[in-house]
Symmetry: C2
Subunit: 363 residues, 2 copies
């Protein structure tokens, strides 16, 4: 079975995804999963569609050289352009959509105010009969319930493993491997930039220098407030709470305190006392509501979250049947986010042929 992919957003993550797919093409095909990229919409380098497939590697190369992917203008030149592009691609790939083998891969950047236009992208794609795979936190953090219902009505999948902890399977873990288990709450460290900054400050590095290092590495957002003021962590907390706890949160409804007010003296004093300061994301049920919070917390040295160095992330799930389960991400990087998209794609393909074995990549 060959899946036709429409890529909406073609930045670092989207392009790495294309290269990862290409590197694993043989393994995927031997597992029965063919992939063809039929559409690419960029923000500033135009867009392209060809129902017989595009050479996405060549397009990624072009974008990296600053060239355009198509004669048409980039979709961000006017509001709604990407939505129109998706609708058009859905029409031109109507057969693939009808056969359940059209997938829209959404990797535009997060808008922390409203989660748009990514939410519209997801909705439009589902309306066209496409599955949706995204690494964007916005749709899950702002509109999970509505989009999940839209996907169910459409008989299509809406998957977003890359939205939290990159390729580490959080959502898939709970959905696929913990059937019958109820999650009652969670706490975790989910923002790499602030954990790197706090760790660096322990050894005397100034706040600004640590932040700049993360920005140079492409880990921190260009707008420092997004990481430093806890917005990224709040968006991930809302996403996790909405999916795992059935909450109806948005990033703004997560009580939020960032690390901007944390002084080197405080970090060092904690460390000297055998404790560590971490930006902790938490949520728990409180009756029918869900309370969620992001704030710096001073943790005992033997707390699992206290042990996270640099860019590491971890999530501790509280469950009814299994007590606490923690999952720790020790590596990081763009490939992991790209992998999340590929894993979601494989999940969709498996559903279409449930008896088929998972392809094993790069063995």
């Amino acid at each position: 079975l060959t899946f036709d992919l429409v890529l909406v957003g073609f930045g670092h993550v989207g392009r790495r995804f294309v290269r990862l797919l290409d590197a694993n093409r043989t393994a995927l095909e031997s597992g029965g999963l063919g992939v063809r990229i039929v559409g690419v919409a960029t923000r500033r380098h135009g867009h392209a569609y060809a129902s017989r497939g595009l050479d996405a590697i060549a397009l990624a190369d072009r974008v990296e050289l600053g060239e355009r992917v198509g004669a048409e203008r980039g979709v961000r030149r006017r509001s709604g352009a990407a939505t129109a592009f998706i609708r058009d691609a859905g029409r031109r790939s109507a057969t693939a959509a009808r056969q359940g083998r059209l997938v829209v891969v959404e990797t535009t950047t997060l808008d922390i105010e409203r989660g748009q236009p990514a939410i519209d992208h997801v909705r439009t794609a589902l309306d066209c009969g496409a599955h949706v795979v995204t690494a964007n936190k916005g749709p899950v953090a702002f509109a999970y319930g509505a989009l999940a219902r839209a996907a169910e009505r459409a008989g299509r999948r809406f998957l977003f493993e890359g939205a939290v902890m990159d390729g580490i399977p959080i959502f898939n873990l709970v959905r696929d491997t913990l059937p019958g288990v109820s999650i009652t709450g969670f706490r975790g460290v989910v923002n790499s930039t602030t954990n790197y900054i706090l760790t660096a400050m322990e050894s005397g590095e100034p706040f600004g220098a640590a932040l700049a290092a993360m920005q140079r590495a492409g880990i921190a957002e260009a707008d420092a407030s997004f990481d430093v003021d806890g917005w990224d962590a709040a968006a991930k907390t809302a996403a996790l709470a909405n999916v795992l706890l059935g909450a109806r949160l948005t990033p703004a409804s997560v009580a939020r305190e960032g690390v901007a007010g944390v002084t080197p003296a405080r970090v060092k004093a904690a460390r000297a006392a055998g404790r560590r300061l971490k930006l902790v994301a938490r949520a728990e049920r409180a009756g029918r509501a869900v309370l969620a919070r992001v704030a710096p917390e001073e943790l005992p040295g033997d707390d699992l979250l206290a042990g996270l160095e640099g860019q590491q992330n971890a999530l501790v799930l509280q469950t009814d049947l299994l007590g606490e389960i923690a999952i720790v991400q020790r590596g990081s990087g763009l490939t992991m986010t790209a992998y999340a998209l590929m894993a979601d794609l494989i999940t969709i393909a498996r559903q279409c042929s449930p008896r088929r074995r998972a392809p094993r990549a790069r063995r």
Copy 2:
């Protein structure tokens, strides 16, 4: 769809499984999964079969009062009795087997010498057209490859999530949520009794007293050597290596050093130096071979495995695409093992109706 279950072994785990199923009956049924127990084979309290279903709760109560579950003799009275029971049940439930809704639930105790008779139980069940779910490490530690192939030939599932880390999804995590990822090695703490003993010794408790506490709690095996000499950890290491790394190990081919030679002085000295002694299980590829080892290791205090208290377990997976992923089990107990069996059962049921939502238990 109603699944017919044949329970082979009806000890603590088997009986807890029956009670867990019963507690979740409504949730399972609302998820489309009906369960009926048609056969129970005990070691010392006889066996029973009824194609229309047994009252398994009543049978569990009887066993706990020391009474028999059936007029016939227990299957351990003579060698091969349980295998004959499975074959007989397979014949009497031939329709369910043909329809792929017969499941043999194997919970006999581990034989560390050869993994028998559990391997024969699994093989016979698959031959009869039943799926197999087990919490027994033996079949996976001794014969994973052959049994996986037998299951594939039979078109049935052979699942064993409960064999390692109770209900924490290790095997299902890798199989279902890490498609395309190659595991290159692992290290972990997988035996609760020895971790409890080492932790207790740090605070001055003598080895013997700590072991006795675990035996009273029903966590340690009656034969202390099984835990203390690292046999349990070696069996789990072989199981993990066979499944995750494609190895062909048995417990005896895992280099093994237990904790019997560990003195309180050594444990305390490590602790005083900010380090901790842990019984670490490891395996890694070495060319086409897989090297596996269980031995006490002195770990730096900030190592994730060093942070494990009491009966906690953890496994750190080394992967190609995602760096290191750790999963930590912080709770423990019989219910978690029973849950593993239920989760495997739900996995089988999902496969038969892949579009069906997972039942959510006890909400």
